[in-house]
Amino acid sequence: MPSTTSSNLDTVRNWLLAKHPERTSIAADEDLIKARLVDSLSFVEFVLTVEEASGVEIDHETIDLEDFRTLEAIERKYF
């Protein structure tokens, strides 16, 4: 995997960690919604963060939540 990819995914991980100072790490397969790392009010900002980090344009109207459930899923779909 090219190093730029993982460092870009790190941008997403770091965004989550910055919002949750009580956490020091997030596993690739951790359910971000169940763990309350992302909620409805932060979701749009989160999607924008993924968009910026991956350079992939995301249509907010047709988002499939499953693509955002875990860092792994985000990497698969957008990186």
């Binding site: 909620d39 409805s40 009010l41 979701f43 749009v44 907010h60 939540l65």
Partner: protein
């Protein structure tokens, strides 16, 4: 008590937490006792999602709306779905203000029992409680008190509309209008439809659904919704903005044009 009425213990628990902060937006000394027995459990069960912060910001926003309205001379404040609200005790309002709390009778009985256990603290204003079903014809019960529809009124249906359908919410607003004279106001919180639709909200919404207290109504066009019921929006804010918990809101405030952003509206409207 109706299942939905326990949600008033939940919001009371959130107010208790806010009251205990050093930078509290308000202090509600009765909240912790009125949150019993289920409030903290519910808070924990549904947790996160900015709910505690939102309750704090909303409470203060509506406290301020009451302060302003009273300053403008309004003397009737009707708390619709008042739940465990204690504004009649904790706001220092002029003593000629009349506060009416409308909610299910079983909720009122529970609240009065708990207040009695606390030694029956005295409200600082003239307070009357009205037991009624807000989905039905409740205004007759209000008018059976000394409530005077010929005097300007401030109506506050706090944390209620999401439990109603859009049609029921509109009927409620029209009922306010029908019992109001010019100069009357509504101050209220409304969910955005985007919040109800957001993929990230669905787990929370389905658990509310399973628990028999589904969230139903939200709108992305609060001005239009209010205008359609006879009320002109004079102020529209979102949490995190100046006058609505600025500095205390853990989320970015998304510009209005960002489509699909989950929002909570806080607004004040005047009889059109």
């Amino acid at each position: 008590m109706e299942t939905v009425s326990y949600t008033s213990q939940w919001t009371a628990a959130a107010r208790a937490l806010e009251s205990e902060r050093s930078d509290a937006l308000f202090v509600d000394p009765l909240a912790r006792a009125l949150a019993e027995p289920k409030g903290f459990e519910l808070l924990d069960h549904y947790g996160g999602g900015g709910l505690v912060e939102f309750v704090a910001v909303r409470t203060r926003y509506l406290d301020d709306a009451i302060g302003d309205a009273v300053q403008k001379g309004i003397r009737q404040v009707v708390l619709i779905a008042a739940g465990m609200d204690t504004r009649a005790y904790r706001l220092s309002l002029p003593d000629d203000v009349r506060v009416y709390e409308v909610d299910h009778q079983a909720l009122i009985d529970e609240k009065e029992k708990r207040l009695a256990q606390l030694g029956s603290p005295a409200p600082t204003v003239n307070l009357q409680r009205v037991g009624a079903d807000l989905a039905g014809d409740w205004s007759a019960a209000l008018r059976a008190t000394d409530f005077d529809p010929a005097q300007p009124t401030l109506w506050i249906p706090e944390a209620l509309l999401f439990f109603l359908t859009e049609e029921q919410s509109a009927t409620l607003m029209r009922t306010f209008a029908a019992n109001s004279v010019p100069g009357s106001q509504v101050a209220v919180d409304i969910l955005s439809k985007a919040l109800l639709r957001s993929p990230a909200t669905q787990i929370f919404l389905s658990s509310l659904n399973e628990d028999g207290i589904p969230w139903l109504f939200g709108t992305d066009e609060p001005e239009e919704f209010m205008a359609g019921t006879g009320w002109t929006v004079r102020e529209l804010k979102e949490p995190g903005e100046p006058g609505a918990g600025e500095g205390r809101w853990p989320y970015a405030v998304q510009p209005r044009e960002v489509k699909g952003a989950a929002r909570n509206w806080l607004l004040r409207a005047e009889l059109a």
